[in-house]
Symmetry: none
Subunit: 140 residues, 4 copies
């Protein structure tokens, strides 16, 4: 299966972050299967016309997180996706992340309603973008 990477549209996120999100979304949605090989750093960087360091940075971060596995001389693969956290641990991490966001949003003057709106709008925007990428271009 695999996914078609795409950059540029999707807001003002740095490229490597866009790549990270696409891999994560791809795995979550089943487009990327466990053990599947990802495009090599060089080939993907050429395909997207970005610097290979940018791709490497994205892969590296995902490897660090345990999402991907790097096998020397072989390539980068989707990792086993073991449940890395207990439920309590997940809640703790989620809370920390959520609170950081809410604190920033509030300090920018958003009220509760504006916050929930911003979240749901961003989510549907991301969903739409991802769908478009996967339908449109199926060839390099």
């Amino acid at each position: 299966m695999g996914i078609e990477f795409q950059i540029g549209v999707g807001g003002n996120l740095p490229i490597y972050r866009q790549l990270i999100d696409q891999v994560r979304y791809g795995i979550a949605s089943g487009s990327l299967e466990i053990g599947e090989k990802l495009p090599s750093v060089r080939s993907l960087s050429e395909q997207l016309v970005v610097n290979h360091n940018t791709v490497a940075k994205a892969y590296n971060e995902l490897v660090r997180e345990g999402v991907l596995e790097s096998r020397h001389g072989k390539g980068v693969f989707v990792g086993p996706q073991r449940e890395r956290y207990t439920k309590a641990e997940k809640n703790r991490r989620l809370s920390a992340s959520l609170d950081a966001f809410l604190s920033e949003a509030r300090s920018l003057g958003l009220d509760d309603k504006q916050i929930t709106t911003a979240v749901s709008e961003r989510l549907s925007q991301l969903k739409k973008e991802f769908a478009e990428q996967q339908t449109g271009q199926n060839k390099t």
Copy 2:
């Protein structure tokens, strides 16, 4: 007017972060007026039974952000609350903060619905806690 500070409940946020959020919420909600004096570092630390450095850390961060003003030997006051960011800058900051949260949430395996639910639940929880603080205990 002023607000009643309270710590301990409401998640696993560090104390100084709780204090920061309470000041921000207090200003946003009008409970703290511009120019109003906040409790002194020492007195608040005694009231909350925390170290004075912890209170100072919270005040300090808000001073650095321009939310509060510190007048040496006099006390700490609510600052002029000038619009510190342009609209574009605000959007940029909000997006960055939101995307960081969404990225973390997704990597924890939450789908879109679970994310929006988590956000709105946390918001109503915070609202409730803040309301309780301001009504309930007016004495130490």
Copy 3:
């Protein structure tokens, strides 16, 4: 590459401010490269014979400003140094800072010439100190 930290000389600035300035100067001058790891909080505190909290305070302030990045359990690194402000915003901040200084200087009775002299003298003093630090001692 990296820089050699040093404290004590150079005026009556608090230690953590001296460290902040040295990091900023190091980055601006190219001695600290993007992505480079800084000495750990503990090791630097031992090297300088100051408390680790003092070093952490300096690092922390720079992290909040976006100059440094902290990776939990890994260390503190020089951040991407993206342009954090628009040109207009930079001018606004500079003006505010300059006017605050001029206001204080004038209230102390300095005339225009004395002010410009004070500025240029302090600048060359700082330059000299920084140069000495980077050449002289390469051992603790």
Copy 4:
């Protein structure tokens, strides 16, 4: 003698800061003599078409500093301008203020030359503005 207050032009400073600077400059230049009565808060606020709180804020800060004296029911007057600080004290205060400015300027990416240029340009700009105010309009 007295001075003619004027607001609006002179950069993006808040009004109350402009007023403070004009009083200070007026005293330093001899336009305002010791013991001289300043316009009342209400009359000056009407003359400048600003809120009386803004004028009061400027006067209050100057009273706090000892530059002006407030005599209840009489008005606000230029204070005795005693040397409030020893020479060492003055140097200490000046250094603190200067270092704060230099630190900010450097964090905004200005090099030494840009800093000195910014200072001298702002000084001559302020001088020019003040001169214009005192020559132009001598009536309300």
